[in-house]
């Protein structure tokens, strides 16, 4: 090719060539060659080479910088075009932005909520190596998975197995604990017993006091920082003594940091576990005794969990095999990873605020749906406006834009929109944060603004949304043939409108599913609140006993309370409905030892059924409140009679497997709910055992309640020497069980509202566009005699059709999903047709309202104005 010229050194030429502006590469490369050849001819090849390399370092940066600055010019041009088209249609731009911002805000809120739920219990340094030892008990077909385990399992594992580095047992105290220091006394809710190894397994930083053995000795206590401040103010709490429940003293040995909200173990005060064994030393080594401790083990290696689990059958055989066989029961242990407890474990006896992976998944889906709806809006409106942009596209193409550039331009536009929306969304989030927190019932700050890692994530998020929302318009618009668009051939494309209707239908499918879901959740909630529970929960006051002397004289306390005007009935008991019952194995008369049955057991006095309005199905209730001389009497509920298989239980005997006393059944009560409606009514054994009482139930007259309460308090304090007057109302306690459903309900309805709103925003924009497109048509139709009604129908028809199609698709999906959700309730409403009808009707109404408004306005315009338009 070059006759007698030397060739350019390849590598330098390659580098240089890369930096040259593309449009001018030929000329510039020629220039460089010319200089190089000149130099080579006059000063030799080495000089030429040196020069070329010098250009790599001197010229290339200039070229690159220059072409970059040229590119920002291009971006400036895009920005200008974007701003102009946004300004030209302020209304649609606003709808677009608002929808997108709302969708993003929802999405961000939900994402941060999910993130906080997922990070539960992960703050422990060894979180991935901590496991909970849970138990499976099977007594004659009654199968229970429980979160608790027996006393010796933890210490045994730690002592005998090198895989287990440490183990801790904790035991939350039931009810409230009265704690006093000097004059200050408080009722503490979050008190537990714990082994000293608490601090080896978990990461609860000790702030002051004994750092190594704070809970090693009996009667020692560890307080959290804020609890210590509550009792001791600024004084040093270490070595001080707390007086507990009016009977025992505990010495404060250490103060720890407050427990993070994202921990399923919550406590303000921990007493040493050793204290427990002072009164009950025999429990220490009993494998089948008291099963109420939560045992956590720290493994040396998280992957050895399977190996440890494999040890359990041997341990069980060795320590419990004989007894289990005798009563025909089975016991197993299994390990649950700490970080999965909050969301994934749902077995009996869970502690702490429980998450629900199903709810999390529902929310994740809702977040995705809402964002999808918002993106669809964006795509819809952009394609709808394509006719207006078609000329611009045509002109750009004529002037030499290629398709890639156009796509880049439209993606750039949508990305700008999405970034603007993101800013608005962040403001929304900040504003809605407190509301959202109360809705989810979490104490966790969304804290979007505190997290630096979120910045790149958010930018990525905005890009994603921008590209997602802009992709279709970009590819669609850039496809236009310039000749046609400039000649004005282009009608809004058939393909475009089909795509648009697909998007609208999808939006409405999602909206209708959400509406139906909301209705079903609300109906189930209503049902749970109003269902007849087998007892009357209204106007029932529950009093908590602190001091055992109150129980000793319970007949007198009852008599005293009965004296108060406004008190209708009083009873003492061990459990109230919503508390459940204690569980044990029972042996009915005529059953073999191996056929023992698991029954719930509660202990009540003779007025219990009267006070709560529980009806008797057969026999009698207890007739006296005196333990002495009373025949060993008991009652059972209908469910228990059924389970045992007795048609006429009155007069039959039954005995608790662990006790020796035979009791005679004197009556059968009708079934009543002792737990939430999630659970089926269980077989119940009702005895009269005053030593187990620790509650008083008082039925009040509905009038003058404040006055009655004051009198009750006065009387109560006469007996309760601790001076504590703790009470709550039964209906509240019962309804509190549905708090998580209620939260789900509110959250669901708010998100549904938002989703429908965003969908309607989009619909409104589309309707506006459709009306605009057909202004002339409407004008002509009207001047030819079409009525207002006919014109509105013409304009609304399409939208209605879309909603109807969406309804047909949404129904089966909603049916399937809600049916699944309802399965988690033992007592539930029928799905029925009502929610489906209402969901469709609501969506239709929303669509009619948004579209109808716009089309009515169009139909009412004077045809002369319409025809003059353009």
């Amino acid at each position: 090719m070059s006759e007698n010229h030397p060739k350019l050194p390849r590598f330098a030429a390659f580098l240089l060539k890369k930096s040259l502006p593309k449009e001018e590469i030929l000329y510039l490369y020629g220039d460089i060659k010319e200089i190089y050849f000149d130099l080579a001819a006059s000063k030799g090849r080495l000089a030429a080479r040196l020069w070329l390399w010098s250009q790599v370092f001197l010229s290339s940066p200039r070229f690159i910088r220059y072409s970059l600055s040229r590119r920002t010019n291009m971006i400036k041009n895009y920005l200008q075009a974007a701003l102009r088209s946004m300004k030209k249609q302020k209304g649609i731009t606003f709808i677009n932005l608002a929808g997108l911002a709302l969708g993003m805000a929802c999405c961000l809120l939900i994402l941060s909520y999910i993130r906080s739920e997922k990070s539960f219990d992960t703050f422990h340094k060894n979180a991935d190596r901590i496991f909970r030892v849970s138990t499976v008990l099977e007594v004659r077909g009654d199968f229970a998975r429980i979160a608790v385990s027996n006393h010796p399992i933890g210490p045994t594992l730690m002592r005998d197995y090198p895989e287990v580095e440490s183990a801790v047992r904790i035991r939350p105290l039931e009810g409230r604990t009265l704690v006093a220091f000097d004059e200050k006394q408080f009722l503490e809710n979050e008190v537990m017993l714990a082994d000293n190894t608490l601090f080896d397994v978990f990461t609860f930083p000790i702030l002051s006091g004994d750092r190594h053995t704070p809970l090693a000795k009996p009667h020692t206590a560890v307080l959290t920082r804020s609890t210590a401040e509550k009792y001791f103010g600024n004084e040093d709490p270490i070595g001080r003594t707390l007086h507990v429940n009016d009977e025992s003293d505990f010495m404060v040995t250490a103060v720890i940091e407050d427990i993070p909200a994202l921990s399923h173990i919550q406590f303000d005060i921990a007493f040493s576990f050793e204290t427990f064994y002072l009164d009950r030393p025999e429990q220490r080594d009993r494998w089948l005794g008291d099963i109420n401790n939560y045992t956590y083990i720290l493994l040396r290696n998280a992957s050895e969990a399977g190996k440890v689990e494999a040890l359990f059958p041997g341990l069980i055989e060795k320590h419990m095999g004989r007894v289990l066989k005798a009563v025909n029961a089975e016991c197993e242990f299994f390990l649950q990873p700490l970080t999965r407890i909050h969301l994934h474990s749902n077995i009996q006896g869970e502690i702490g605020r429980r998450g629900n992976i199903a709810v999390i998944s529902i929310f994740a889906a809702v977040a995705a749906f809402i964002l999808l709806i918002a993106c669809f809006n964006f795509m819809n409106l952009a394609t709808a406006r394509s006719t207006q942009r078609a000329r611009e596209v045509g002109l750009r193409k004529v002037l030499g834009s290629d398709r890639r550039q156009l796509i880049a331009q439209f993606l750039f536009e949508s990305t700008i929109m999405s970034f603007t929306a993101l800013l608005a969304a962040l403001l929304f989030v900040k504003a809605a944060e407190p509301l959202f927190r109360s809705l989810t019932g979490t104490a966790i700050s969304v804290g979007l603004f505190d997290l630096i890692w979120l910045v790149p994530a958010l930018i990525g998020f905005a890009f994603l949304v921008g590209i997602l929302a802009g992709a279709y318009p970009a590819f669609y618009l850039s496809k236009f043939r310039p000749v046609y668009t400039l000649k004005g051939y282009l009608k809004s494309g058939k393909g475009g409108s089909r795509f648009r209707s697909l998007l609208v239908v999808t939006q409405f499918i999602v909206s209708i599913i959400l509406i139906i879901g909301t209705i079903v959740v609300q109906r189930q909630l209503q049902y749970m609140k109003n269902k007849h529970l087998g007892f009357n929960k209204e106007q029932v006051l529950v009093l908590q006993v602190r001091n055992d002397s109150v129980i000793e004289f319970f007949p007198s306390v009852k008599a005293d309370l009965r004296q108060i005007p406004g008190v209708l009935q009083v009873s003492a008991c061990s459990h109230i409905p919503s508390h459940g019952a204690r569980h044990n194995a029972f042996l009915p008369e005529g059953f073999h030892l191996k056929e023992s049955l698991m029954l719930g057991a509660i202990s009540v006095d003779k007025d219990f059924f009267d006070t709560l309005g529980i009806e008797l199905a057969a026999g009698n209730s207890f007739d006296r409140d005196l333990a002495q001389g009373l025949p060993r009497a008991a009652l059972i509920n209908e469910k228990a009679a059924q389970r045992i298989g007795w048609e006429n239980p009155v007069g039959k005997n039954i005995r608790e497997l662990s006790g020796a006393v035979k009791k005679t059944i004197i009556g059968v009560v009708k079934d009543f709910h002792t737990t939430s409606l999630h659970q089926v009514i269980e077989p119940l054994f009702i005895e009269f055992e005053p030593s187990l009482f620790h509650l008083f139930v008082v039925r009040l007259h509905s009038e003058n309640i404040p006055q009655t309460m004051a009198s009750i308090e006065k009387t109560w304090k006469k007996w309760e020497t601790s001076g504590a007057f703790e009470y709550y109302f039964l209906d509240q306690a019962f309804d509190n069980q549905y708090r998580s459903e209620e939260r789900l309900g509110t959250l669901f309805s708010s998100f549904t509202l938002l989703a429908v709103f965003i969908a309607c925003l989009g619909l409104f924009g589309l309707a506006a566009h459709a009306v605009e497109q057909r202004t002339k048509e409407i004008g002509i139709r009207k001047s030819l005699g079409a009525t207002m009604g006919k014109v509105s129908v013409l304009l609304t028809k399409d939208f209605i059709r879309w909603v109807l199609i969406a309804t047909v698709i949404a129904w089966p999906i909603a049916y399937f999903a809600m049916n699944k959700w309802l399965q988690s309730f033992a007592y539930r409403v029928d799905l029925g047709v009502f929610p489906f009808m209402l969901g469709a009707a609501a969506a239709l109404a929303a669509a009619l309202l948004t579209v109808g408004f716009k089309s009515l306005k169009a139909a009412r315009t004077n045809p002369a104005d319409a025809l003059r338009y353009e």
Partner: protein, 111 residues
């Protein structure tokens, strides 16, 4: 009118001097000779293109030549705007250069 940078001014003048033979190589050679400084290709091209963007220069594509490895030449010519710009620069410069000679300037002492 926006002011030109010194490089842009020099390049514009060089294009004027070279008449019909102004392309990157000749412009660069001319500049090197007259300024006694080395000019990189980029240092010539960037102001040249910027002047073109501003409308002071226009281009004409010439024939490919063997000595350029058969690449075409891009010649630069002054536009009316370019000529006007040069005239303005000259007018202002003449005014400001008036009475200048190295001897006529006395720097005050004791400064």
């Amino acid at each position: 009118m926006k002011y030109l940078t010194r490089q842009e001014e020099l390049i514009l003048l060089t294009v004027f001097q070279l008449k019909n033979n102004a392309y990157l190589v000749t412009i660069r050679n001319h500049l090197k000779q007259n300024t006694k400084k080395s000019w990189s290709v980029g240092a010539v091209y960037v102001p040249l293109d910027r002047l073109k963007q501003r409308g002071y220069l226009k281009t004409r594509i010439g024939e490919p030549a063997a000595k350029r490895g058969r690449n075409a030449v891009k010649y630069y010519h002054l536009t009316q705007d370019g000529i006007k710009a040069l005239a303005e620069i000259k007018k202002v410069n003449d005014l400001l250069w008036a009475g200048f000679s190295t001897e006529s300037i006395s720097t005050p002492k004791n400064v």
